[in-house]
Symmetry: C2
Subunit: 182 residues, 2 copies
């Protein structure tokens, strides 16, 4: 049944922080981006651009920027053979109008949607992934010639995972769902 | 193959703006929220709460709040048998610290991820969905007793779709993806 396979992907997706060294097949990368391309966004603004970093030397420099020596986080990223840098692009008039009038950053919601399409597609391809939000954005932009006016909300590491599936620590159904009242 | 079914769900998910009147089975709603529950978020903050509105009278009042007479949008929502109101909850210390230091609203990205888990799970269940970002948030909060301090970034309509699959208008691969450089 379709839904069984979908939920299996949802259950087995996790933030993978260790990877095998073998490379990721190009055709898998292309299919993953077809999933990202079809993601929905407010007013169909598609406020995103993705930079695939698979050049080893450049990727290691990027991983340096993603690791924080002070806080000791994200030291695993050098292992991932592919890094996807998610750039937030200007949205269209309708989306910007809505963001301002309603006081909500619709492009950030869209970025979350597209990024998760990437992570779920990676899992469907037998790959692991991890979204990173904590990195030196200025260094990343300089390294990849990203215009100063752009924001880089996320980096996604992709590769064959070298870790087992963990149990997910999540709130219970009753803690997050209610019916017809807050 | 797992990936074929996944991509089929990605391709067939669309913003459905017309629904059949038949109700949605409770077990499907429960499975959809299991998918939402397992969604990833920065620092595992899970900054969300979902209110399922399936009481007909209440749902119609909510649909009134979601429709804008001035702009003529979202008039379809009354048809959808289920509305899911997505409430943004306070994140944990680590996520808030990161949001402030890095200047990114991680909870909004998380909301996008969880909302898309809902829409993709709905499609896996043979249901249609549509995310709405434009509605009278104050009226919605009053109707469902949502605390004033909370934000309501999205409402998601769910039901059996009464529309055909449309072609998706999206940017091309080359417009959104580049390798090792912006």
């Amino acid at each position: 049944m379709h839904s069984d396979i979908f939920y299996e992907i949802i259950r087995s997706r996790q933030s993978d922080r260790a990877y095998e060294t073998r490379p990721v097949e190009k055709e898998k990368i292309l299919r993953i981006f077809e999933a990202a391309r079809l993601a929905p966004s407010a007013c169909n603004a598609q406020p995103w651009r993705f930079i695939v970093v698979d050049d080893t030397e450049l990727k290691n420099k990027l991983a340096e920027a993603a690791a924080s020596r002070v806080l000791g986080i994200n030291h695993f990223t050098k292992q991932a053979p592919v890094h996807i840098v998610v750039v937030m692009e200007p949205a269209n008039f309708n989306s910007n109008f809505g963001s301002v009038v309603k006081g909500k950053a619709f492009p950030l919601i869209a970025i979350g949607i597209a990024a998760e399409h990437i992570c779920l597609a990676a899992k469907a391809e037998g790959l692991g992934s991890c979204m990173l939000g904590w990195f030196d954005e200025t260094a990343v932009k300089k390294l990849l010639n990203i215009p100063k006016s752009r924001r880089v909300p996320l980096i996604i590491t992709i590769g064959y995972p070298a870790v087992e599936l963990r149990e997910k620590k999540r709130k219970s159904f009753d803690e997050i769902v209610s019916f017809n009242n807050y």
